[in-house]
Symmetry: D3
Subunit: 137 residues, 6 copies
């Protein structure tokens, strides 16, 4: 089910077509996944969202592409976003996440989920040593 | 503030002392942070929690230690755990997270938080292509 | 799937029938959606929940009905409640939410989701200027 | 800090005074905690919220008072509500929660937090056996 | 849908078979639910997760088995874990949760969800009286 | 406390100064709140985040500025972001949110939080009538 009707022929709008073309070129694939097809109902929202995903996830940077995908999966699981867990697990697999790495990612997500709720249930005060994590001033 | 009174002299209990000693030895530091001091009110819970943290976070494995800490921070931010964000950001810094890496981690957490809520607000259906992410059967 | 079996003939119970009749009268529609059909397993819980929804959402007040629905959608997306996103998006549409308004609602939900996780990941301290928001003691 | 200024003299309003008097009588204590003092800025919201808390938490029912408080703490930890964790932990202690019970409650919250995020990260499909949990139709 | 392919013949791995056998023996049932079948892709993660579930949920302790399941459901609903809500509601029913108890559990989850978001929206400061909940230093 | 040290003299960096100047000009105020002062540690992240906030929240559009702020508060409360609740409640007050409107906003946040967790605890299936909310393909 869905809460919004996706446009029937999104690429009839040239702004949407330009984004879809860039998605295809960036990913070197003809596949445009549903999130973009749904966002096409508002070209401005589509453009801004893709521009940010492209910049953060598909531009060479300090973190390698697979690490980025694993961080994305971690947030998505914590936020209970079924769509994002599916799409970014597929992306992580495509970028080389092995079974062993996947198992470890799951173990960290599980452990963090556990201690997050434990610390929140205890309301443990933050140690002064953790203040000013790294750097001057 | 806190919802539980931490034990006044936790290491008077030999089970607690054994865990604290192992924390110090594993981390090569005299510092035992508050989460463990609070969990000391129940030695069995303390032992199990530390055993899992040690196994998942402090044992050489497929993912490098800094990547693990960044995944931990990502889950903790999504779960709004102030304590865990503080403690694992300090740990990531200690393991070499640079300002550039930190900025990128934050950008991914922010982007994932954004698209998670967008996909949940649209109730976008999962693409069939994302099913069976990785592997036979 | 569901975690509870809905009653087969809920309106056989006069308390349930009274609530369903009030839902139909209030909404001027014969449609009674699933949430109420499921809550019918406990007439007291059904009565209290409907009374609150009627009072907060279906009684003229300082906020107009469409604004209320958009606020409801925003909370439901953040809480990852698929059912509530669907039902309140339908309600907002019925109350006049245009595509442009829907796109803007989604953009705010997305942006807030983003900065929420950013502020939680940074643990930014609250500015003293934001304290006492609105008025003297 | 707070996002709302609490009323300076809430009991000057007879509707607020009536609620505060009922809180004191129900709890057999002079103490009225901050949540009620803040909600006093809107007597209708205060009345409705207290009426529900009194009905659900302070009326004899199928579940005993301590079990109710522990369930309340569990939800509050998962929702990262610092205030509610503090207030309901104090209430649970007052109703007889021992250290052993508290440790066990924490262990269940931690375990559930862990498997919740694990199941959400795996997107495990629900077993057909779990459908229609309990009862005919 | 799922984000991970479950192993086709999990019990071909003796470590997995040992865990499945222990699940069957502990529960006195031939049924092994999907969570364990999915976790079988990594025997170490499967072993650790089951060991913890067995210890916390299936070992006689200060809290009775039904209370434990209700606490588990409460956390799972707050975390929007569909799988865990289904599985633990089935478990609670099997352990004797009546319709009346289920309705009351739902009422507490609903009320806590309500006041959690209310307290977080008001940013009510914690009363000093709630500090040090239970016992001396 | 904080997990990141804010830069001591952020406006020494011309990119940061340009953003701060635009914040002041857009808001017609000398006040630059902490979120921006913390993000200044990475000028690119600061620029992108402010550009989005300016576009979504401070540009005339289909929704009026106060409605936007109330939606922002709703998401922030659900996500347990203390900072964002404080800052956007102050903003909503500055844009004309009365006590009556604030009380109503809180009542909707509370009610949505309640029914979200209720629907998630029941796993109510979405009514087919809610599919395709708003219009043809």
């Amino acid at each position: 089910m869905t809460a919004l009707q996706r446009p029937a022929d999104p690429e009839a709008d040239p702004r949407v077509k330009a984004v879809f073309d860039d998605i295809r070129a960036t990913r070197r694939s003809d596949f445009v996944n549903n999130l973009w097809r749904w966002l096409a109902f508002d070209p401005a929202l589509l453009e801004r969202t893709w521009a940010e995903v492209k910049q953060v996830m598909a531009t060479p940077s300090a973190l390698d592409p697979l690490t980025k995908e694993m961080i994305y999966i971690a947030v998505s699981a914590a936020n209970a976003c079924s769509y994002c867990v599916h799409s970014h697990t597929a992306a992580a697999r495509a970028k080389g996440m092995s079974d062993a790495m996947h198992a470890e990612l799951l173990a960290i997500i599980a452990l963090a989920g556990k201690t997050n709720q434990l610390a929140n249930a205890l309301q443990v005060p933050v140690d002064p040593e953790f203040e000013r994590a790294g750097g001057p001033v």
